[in-house]
């Protein structure tokens, strides 16, 4: 295998040498740009392909080739194609991934290149999620954010009505205390108030952590970033842990599940509530048995209702030969009406102000109004800007949090792991 890795590296070098020599297209020949999309839900793939087709018909001079990527291996695939010097021109990814790529110089700084119309249609809070250091001391905008995810709660309406709990609204959401009480109330016999699917706990915990001001990272005056797990950070950790092991209102066997795995149990009434990303509504709509009534509940409130925002993004590769044309395509792809189509396809929230005002995004049907209202709670999560976050997440935080929620280690031990081992990881990137 080592030989193979080395061989691959060797080939990459060869490929990098050859990549830059291909001649640019003649002036009257159509320009070809590659667009790698990570859409995976059926409706979303359809929406993506339809928009590309529309563009290709309207712009014979700039032809876009649709390439299907996958969230499962996008990071490794992009790293290799960046190193080979032959990345897709337009790259679909999400904001946590951009920091590392921007730092390594793979992505084009779009600061002064985004057309004014697109720029003003997307609020500054969303632009903040794609603003990173360029690895040389400067700052830049490395993508156009277009779909955002917030954490909401999906509830079984019949069970909630039966328990006679207050129905929260975006203006007056449940607090975490209320949520804990209600979860206890809904726990009866074999059924639990809530299920926390924690197969990938890190982003969820860090995004919710902001409810109590938990940032998990701090940067000192010299620009050195370290991990921080203080009182604010412990709040959400402790509260979820309490539900699992003290109140026993959350099903511990759901811990190993991915986001969509508890759905069958949810339909069967085994869990009354699921804290999930807004996109999961699509699966509920599609799979829930006839007559199953459900509602989307607004995000919980701690000290605030603020959540870390993760946005999906479109970026342009530094190695792209047609950056201008790529940006033109992005501006078309992400205009207001098109963002509505993409948001509907992925069941996520559009960043475009115009799109957010579209009736399709504010209808009460399938909880779109609650979901769209949660956009105002989204703020930039500090972890987005941390160089080395990905390694911290997979090497340190994921195992530590999984062990903590499984009650194998205490909160103090978890905090110590996150900080000590975490700082060691970050050290490599501070060099």
């Amino acid at each position: 295998m080592r030989k193979r890795v080395v061989l691959a590296a060797g080939l990459l070098v060869l490929a990098a040498g050859c990549g830059s020599e291909s001649p640019a297209a003649a002036p009257d020949e159509p320009v070809k740009i590659k667009f790698q999309s990570l859409a995976w839900q059926k409706e979303s793939i359809a929406a993506n392909k339809q928009l590309v087709e529309e563009w290709n018909k309207a712009n014979p001079k700039i032809q876009v080739e649709y390439i299907q990527g996958s969230w499962d291996n996008v990071n490794d695939q992009l790293v290799t194609s960046f190193e080979a010097g032959d990345p897709p021109d337009v790259i679909h990814d999400d904001s946590p991934a951009l920091s590392g790529f921007a730092n390594r110089g793979y992505l084009l700084d779009l600061t002064d290149k985004v057309p004014a119309e697109l720029k003003s249609d997307i609020p500054q809070a969303a632009w903040d999620t794609v603003t990173f250091g360029d690895g040389k001391g400067g700052q830049g905008v490395y993508g156009v954010p277009f779909l955002q995810e917030s954490q909401v709660i999906i509830g079984n309406k019949k069970l909630l009505d039966k328990a006679g709990v207050r129905v929260p609204t975006p203006d007056s959401p449940w607090t975490w205390d209320e949520f804990a009480e209600i979860s206890k109330k809904l726990t009866k016999g074999d059924s639990y108030g809530v299920a926390w699917p924690m197969k990938s706990p890190v982003n969820k915990v860090l995004n919710l952590g902001l409810n109590f001001g938990g940032t998990f990272f701090q940067t000192d005056a010299a620009g050195k970033t370290t991990v921080k797990v203080g009182a604010e950070e412990r709040e959400v950790l402790q509260r979820i842990h309490d539900q699992l092991h003290k109140d026993k209102s959350a099903d511990p066997s759901a811990l190993g599940m991915g986001s969509a795995d508890p759905l069958p149990g949810f339909y069967a009434g085994k869990y009354a509530m699921l804290p999930v990303g807004v996109y999961l509504r699509q699966q509920v709509v599609e799979q829930a048995p006839d007559g199953f009534e459900w509602i989307t509940l607004p995000p919980l409130k701690g000290a605030t209702a603020e959540q870390g925002a993760v946005s999906q993004t479109l970026s342009v590769a530094t190695d792209s030969k047609y950056p201008e044309q790529s940006l033109k395509f992005i501006s078309f792809f992400l205009n207001g009406p098109n963002q509505v189509k993409l948001a509907k396809g992925d069941w996520l929230l559009p960043t475009s102000v115009k799109a957010a005002g579209d009736p399709a995004m504010t209808t009460e049907e399938n909880g779109w109004n609650v979901a769209t209202a949660s956009v105002k709670n989204l703020v930039v999560a500090p972890f987005l800007k941390v160089n080395g976050f990905d390694e911290w997440k997979s090497k340190v935080a994921t195992p530590a949090l999984q062990q903590y929620f499984a009650n194998k280690i205490t909160l103090d031990e978890t905090a110590k792991k996150l900080v000590d081992e975490g700082n060691k990881v970050l050290e490599r990137y501070n060099k």
Partner: protein, 303 residues
């Protein structure tokens, strides 16, 4: 005459090596077509990989690579994650190799018996060999699936085999054993067929039972084959990548992160090419050391 007789005497000593040199050059010329691919695709990258191990090469357009000497090796020795991965790698390689050998020996003995449908059974035993590791991984992922998996429905359990901290590694080891059995079985079967029948006939005259025949004839006769296949299996297993990458990607929480997966992550996930190359070099050293000791002991016992 004297001249002609003299000449060979004087020129013979320097001529011989020159002639040999010409022959060597010709041989080299003939070997060249075969050597070039080996040099370009095997030796070159290998040397490049070893060179990388002494640099801080990392991904990035603005990354500057510089020579750092042995500092990567120092980092490696103090890297807890590496040692955890190394430990998992050793558990994996040793247990897969040993269990694979035992299972294959049983299977080979069975297939060596006179029985009905022997040819068919032999073909059947080869099936896993025909499958690429990725397909095997996908297939077993379905077998282990917590809800839809055939294993849970057969046992009536609700275990998430590949995501449980303590079960994941054993579950992956079982797949590893299954995957490597055909190669080992074929080699052992060939070895069994090479054992002279006369030996069995001789001990049968002495009234030896099945167990004695196995212990005193089969095993000693198979010895060279066993040594060869177990050492090859060990190298294959410690370098296993595709299977585990598809099955668990090293999860849960790094419980199945074999050394090669660790190296892959370092290089292609986090972008530390130099460090990943160091890992590769370290594993080569370990494999050579383990094999050296093992083969040396086997040979000493054999002689």
């Amino acid at each position: 005459m004297t001249l002609t007789a003299d000449r060979p005497v004087r020129t013979a000593p320097p001529k011989k090596p020159r002639k040999g040199g010409r022959q060597g050059r010709e041989a080299l010329l003939l070997m060249l077509p075969a050597l070039v691919p080996v040099l370009v695709f095997s030796v070159g990258p290998l040397l490049y990989g070893i060179f990388l191990a002494f640099t801080d090469a990392r991904s990035g357009r603005n990354a500057v690579t510089s020579f750092v000497g042995l500092s990567n090796f120092g980092d490696l020795l103090s890297d807890g994650d590496f040692w955890a991965s190394f430990r998992i790698g050793m558990i994996w390689a040793v247990s897969v190799t040993v269990l694979q050998f035992l299972a294959s020996l049983g299977l080979a003995l069975l297939l060596n018996q006179e029985m009905r449908f022997r040819g068919f059974a032999r073909v059947l035993a080869m099936v896993p060999w025909a499958m690429p590791p990725v397909v095997i991984g996908l297939m077993w992922r379905l077998v282990y699936h917590p809800d839809a998996g055939i294993l849970n429905s057969m046992l009536g359990t609700e275990i998430d085999w590949l995501n449980d901290f303590s079960i994941a590694l054993p579950a992956v080891i079982v797949v590893g054993i299954w995957t490597g059995m055909p190669q080992t079985t074929v080699v052992l079967l060939a070895g069994l067929q090479g054992v002279p029948k006369e030996l069995y006939e001789a001990v049968e005259v002495d009234g030896a039972g099945v167990w004695r025949r196995f212990w005193n004839i089969t095993l000693p006769q198979l010895r060279p084959v066993i040594v060869a296949i177990t050492s090859l299996d060990f190298v294959w297993n410690i370098n296993q990548f595709g299977l585990v990458y598809v099955l668990t990607q090293g999860g849960p929480g790094g419980q199945t992160r074999l050394p090669m997966l660790f190296a892959y992550e370092e290089a292609f996930r986090y972008g530390f090419f130099g460090y990943a190359a160091t890992l590769g070099v370290a594993i080569v050293i370990v494999v050579l050391a383990v094999l050296g000791v093992y083969l040396w002991r086997q040979m000493r016992e054999a002689s």
